[in-house]
């Protein structure tokens, strides 16, 4: 059986150097966005989804675990942060913390259930768990059902950063994204990340070498869920609402699609994929259900013709690790 990511380039000083250069270019490009006249709301939204896709990619690309329910972390963090900011009146930093912590807690519980099966079952279980949460949020009073939590105040981060100013908010979201991205980058290149890759390639062998693979998978799942929660909490400040669409199966599918388009198991692929899919939604918003059809076509095309994704193809062509 062919593994999901067939180009496993070993971690070498050169690979790390290439990745650092690419990271510097990405950071520089993102840092000048407010001066270019690009609509900052679009980039902020894309950054939240990029972090979400990177968190998802940590599981699928490096642990071989396809989570088809990652929207549950996005939605949970959004609801908890939104509720904390609006109803409890917490400050932004505590609101972000509350949302991220809620997703981390959810990841512990769902992870303990989901890692009991591998492969295809893992995908179905995470999907079913997210659907379970969807119905809970549909009925729970604090989420306001179909309406969602609207008009969430943005407030002042650390008392002096006025988040209602788009430029300030942009750099805060960018900082959050970069922090999450670097954490994932560090994890992938750590001994822990190497064990994860070993589990992806051959779990029985990893077990026979004495690794408690369940603990590694659970830790990766918790890390991924927590960072997805951070993305959800940041998104609350951008969108100023939290609604059921963030918990739906369709949202989980979009996260998968972003990562697939960019390249499963590549470091920068999920970021590129997130920007493409969010841009596509913006431009095609007036076409209604055609967006869904087009996304389906992209799914099919990626799986049949284009399994490495955009960054994966480039990395393969340049024989570099990206």
């Amino acid at each position: 059986m062919t593994a999901l990511t067939d180009d496993t380039i070993p971690v070498t000083p050169r690979a790390i150097r290439d990745e650092m250069i690419a990271f510097a270019i990405m950071t520089a490009m993102l840092a000048i966005v407010p001066f270019t006249g690009i609509y900052p709301f679009f980039v902020m939204q894309a950054l939240c989804f990029a972090l979400l896709a990177c968190a998802f990619n940590l599981l699928i690309g490096y642990g071989g675990l396809l989570s088809f329910g990652h929207a549950m972390f996005l939605g949970t963090a959004g609801y908890v942060s939104g509720h904390a900011l609006k109803v409890w009146g917490l400050s932004p930093e505590l609101g972000i913390l509350a949302g991220t912590a809620a997703s981390a807690g959810l990841a512990v519980i769902t992870g303990l259930v989901a890692i009991r099966r591998q492969g295809i079952y893992f995908a179905m279980i995470t999907l079913a768990l997210s659907q379970l949460l969807y119905f809970i949020y549909l009925q729970a009073p604090f989420t306001h059902g179909e309406d969602g939590i609207q008009g969430i105040p943005q407030g002042h981060l650390f008392f002096f950063l006025d988040l209602s100013k788009p430029t300030v908010l942009y750099y805060v979201v960018l900082a959050g994204f970069l922090a999450g991205f670097l954490l994932i980058f560090r994890t992938i290149n750590s001994p822990f990340g190497e064990v994860l890759k070993a589990i992806r390639e051959n779990e029985p062998r990893a077990i026979s070498l004495g690794y408690k693979t369940d603990q590694y998978k659970l830790l990766a799942f918790i890390l991924s869920g927590t960072l997805a929660g951070l993305a959800g909490a940041l998104k609350v400040f951008v969108a100023q609402n939290a609604s059921l669409t963030d918990v739906e199966v369709g949202m989980s599918g979009q996260i998968v699609l972003m990562t697939l388009v960019g390249g499963l198991g590549t470091i920068f692929g999920p970021v590129v994929g997130a920007f493409i899919i969010i841009a596509m939604q913006q431009y095609l918003a007036s076409f209604g259900q055609w967006v869904q059809v087009i996304q389906g076509v992209i799914f099919v095309a990626c799986v049949l013709l284009f399994r490495r994704g955009i960054i994966g193809e480039i990395a393969h062509y340049l024989k570099r690790s990206l």
Binding site: L4, L66, Q131, F135, Q292, G296, V300, C302, L304
Partner: protein
């Protein structure tokens, strides 16, 4: 008590659909190693096929029960020949992703043309035998009123499920099929056309989904998104039952439908979630599923 029996019947009907759908998923997974995410969309296509047969050509319910599964089954076989067959040898997850994309396309197209509201499909009123008016009306059983159509769905689904079990577990064709699941290369060496069997198997699984769609059309109306949530419940059913056994899928499907129906009566708030909660419990106690072997 009337309400309890009514919910029990609703549960049995949903259980019939779960059984037909999870049976199809299990058969397809056995041969193709693919979890067919498009199963809900194909179930919906079965219902639409019956609707079109009636509104465009005047072909009624009884013939739709035959034709709709065949038409949708052929559509499925075309999908298998043109796309799914290229995934052989790749990680199972690609099959899930591809069929998820197919489901998005099919459901999106139907939603474009038919919106999200339901199209009516009447319960057949023929053949007329004595006081029977096709499958319309109902009978008073003393302890409850049984709408004839609903009773028919449960009994007919049960017959189809048992028939499929018999086909796979007790006939020569089924023996080839099970052998090809175990070791396709060896079975091919015996001169059996395994790729054709794979295509037919996919057609069979899809046909079962379409049949469930036709059966549900008079009860649930014909809606583009009718399969969207059902398929996720069926995934949970499959996780609970395990995909190793045909009979296991059938029994788990019916049982979970009944449990869901009972929950609607005793604690309606949990009726949407009970199957998922049961899935969590089963995973904690017996991770391989009730009948499944380790995957």
């Amino acid at each position: 008590m009337q309400a309890l029996y009514a919910q029990l019947l609703v549960g049995l009907i949903n259980g019939s659909f779960y059984a037909l759908l999870s049976l199809g998923l299990a058969v397809i997974f056995g041969m193709l190693n693919i979890i067919n995410f498009a199963h809900g969309a194909l179930y919906m296509m079965g219902a639409f096929c019956a609707y079109f047969l009636l509104s465009l050509t005047g072909i009624g319910y009884w013939w739709a029960l035959v034709f709709a599964p065949i038409i949708v089954g052929i559509f499925g076989m075309i999908l298998e020949r043109t796309m799914l067959q290229w995934l052989a040898g790749l990680d199972h997850l690609y099959g899930l992703l591809l069929t998820f994309g197919l489901a998005l396309i099919i459901q999106g197209l139907f939603q474009n043309y038919f919106g999200s509201s339901g199209l009516p499909y009447a319960i057949p009123d023929y053949p007329k035998v004595g006081s029977w008016n096709g499958l319309q009306g109902g009978i008073n059983l003393g302890f409850m009123y049984l709408p004839i159509y609903r009773g028919w769905v449960v009994i007919f689904s049960l017959i189809v499920c048992i028939g499929t079990w018999y086909l796979i577990e007790r006939t020569r064709l089924g023996a080839y099929l099970r052998a090809a699941t175990e070791n396709p290369t060896l079975v091919r060496a015996f001169g059996i056309n395994v790729p054709r069997m794979i295509t037919l198997t996919y057609g069979l699984g899809v046909g079962l989904a379409a049949l469930a769609g036709v059966l549900s059309a008079p009860i649930n109306q014909v809606r583009p998104l009718m399969g969207e949530n059902v398929i996720i419940v069926v995934f949970a059913v499959v996780v609970i039952g395990g995909m190793g056994s045909i009979m296991g899928s059938i029994i788990t499907g019916f049982a979970l439908g009944v449990i869901e129906g009972m929950t609607k009566y005793f604690y309606p708030e949990a009726s949407n979630t009970v199957v998922f909660v049961l899935m969590v419990l089963v995973l904690l106690v017996k991770p391989t599923g009730l009948t499944g072997k380790a995957a």
